[in-house]
Amino acid sequence: MRARTAAGIVASIRSGEATATATIATHLAEIERTDGEIRAFLEVLGDLALEQARAVDDGEVTGPLAGVPVAIKDVLCMDGIATTCGSKILDGWRPPYTATAVRRLIESGAIPIGKTNMDEFAMGSSTENSAFGPTLNPWSTQHVPGGSSGGSAAAVAAGHVPVSLGSDTGGSIRQPASLCGVVGMKPTYGRVSRYGLVAFASSLDQIGPFSQTVEDAALIYVAIAGHDPMDSTSLPEPLGDPVGALSRGIDGLRFGVVTELAGDAIDPEVAAVFAAVTEGLGAREVSLPSFTHALSAYYLIAPAEASSNLARFDGVRYGLRIDADDTTTMMCRSREAGFGPEVKRRIMLGTYALSAGYYDAYYGQAQKVRTLVANDFARAFEEFDILLSPTSPTTAFEIGERAADPLAMYLSDLCTIPANLAGIPAISIPAGLDSKGLPIGLQLMAPALEEERLFAAAAEIEARIAFDAKPNLLGAGT
């Protein structure tokens, strides 16, 4: 199937070459054709999407993204529409409000076409932790799409939608983007409102776009980003012009390759593709020593924050309730029945790390490592404008391969975690394929608030790489 970009769809609807209704119908047909196997979607919003398409065609709805179908990770609330967060504890829950990021997309004319599968409560790197079964990688259905936003990544890779929304706490947009051969971007912490994003780790979570092109990622980013009074961690700084910056080029930009995210930590085929790209950029090595401890710090901070955020799922006000004679027993039974094993493991880890006697040694220390990571980035960004690494140490692993080994699974986030700890923006773009035909991603990182620079560099490198491989999905459609 000919890959359609959001920019292309907008242009073709504006010129009258296509209608929004026909566009939505085509994408719904493609979902129908292959999603039985890929399972990117938990729910397809066919009627709603066609209704909104008609509103675009009737001229009632306009905007810079008018008519663009978009998939929404099921961790984002839409008023009256089932939102599960990949969990049985919220099976059937209908939020009474819509997330700001989703509302802004709708106001710009984009059309949510479905809610996508994910690791339960965004905890995972493979989408195997979904209570509703895994999503498969469109490049090879034996392999994982990555996680936790695996459904949103796969939906773009499979051509179900040109763009989708995911969330990224330790790499949950960038890593699946890398494994699925698409673009995935995490903004500076605070650039995109978290109102309506079901919280995993409140100091790390950010919403961001998946797309086939850097241009489309920038278009979605500017549509959703910007201050929101409903999120007190939302930044007031203006966005600048990331879309205009796309054609800026990389003249004068200094590229650094992070030493700690190279070498033995990275699969040799991934390292080879990465080296080929970075050599052409005149990149030099730079060491950020705190990165050695970044993974450990994250796996104390994130579960600690999650143990607090997930305390609300107690069967009292919403979600699954298993009855009992007393409230405490009811809460325990509801959480036992509703949460999956990885979520329980992380809640336990976080509760332990915050409990009396352990708080300073674990959570307190991890917060100090976080300062070291931020300081290392600040120092590196004095000498370099963009930092580079592979997005993921490996290409997609097989379904089931790491599911029994939490530590092996956590290593998937080695390269992505530092950007979340420091709150800086980062993007993954497809850089090549390995010998099994599985995608390899390149990660770019920029200082906080420098999305213009990030998009400019990513667009230029994307053009140089000229990645044009496509997954062969059950025989290509039209």
């Binding site: 961690t233 405490t328 336990m348 409990s355 917060q367 931020a374």
Partner: protein, 101 residues
Amino acid sequence: MTITPDDVHHVAKLARLNFNEEEVARLARDLGDILQHASKIAELDLAGVEPTAHPIKLKNVWRPDEVRPSLTPEQALANAPAAEENKFRVPRILEVEDSEE
């Protein structure tokens, strides 16, 4: 780093989670492994390093104390497993010790 079954039971009580004995054993092992990995952090000398709770420098974001549109009681109760007289209905609340499973 050894996590005992007693440790697991204590933390499970704090986290309002139930586990059978097999799960307790597996958690003791998994948490032990993860904390073993993370304990390298506990050993670092970071005296004098300020902790970072939050990546951005915003503080005390205020708004005027004015009533704004919010959920109606009906909307707030719409997903309630049990509701009565505009309240969430729950089973009786005991002292924690009385309710151990």
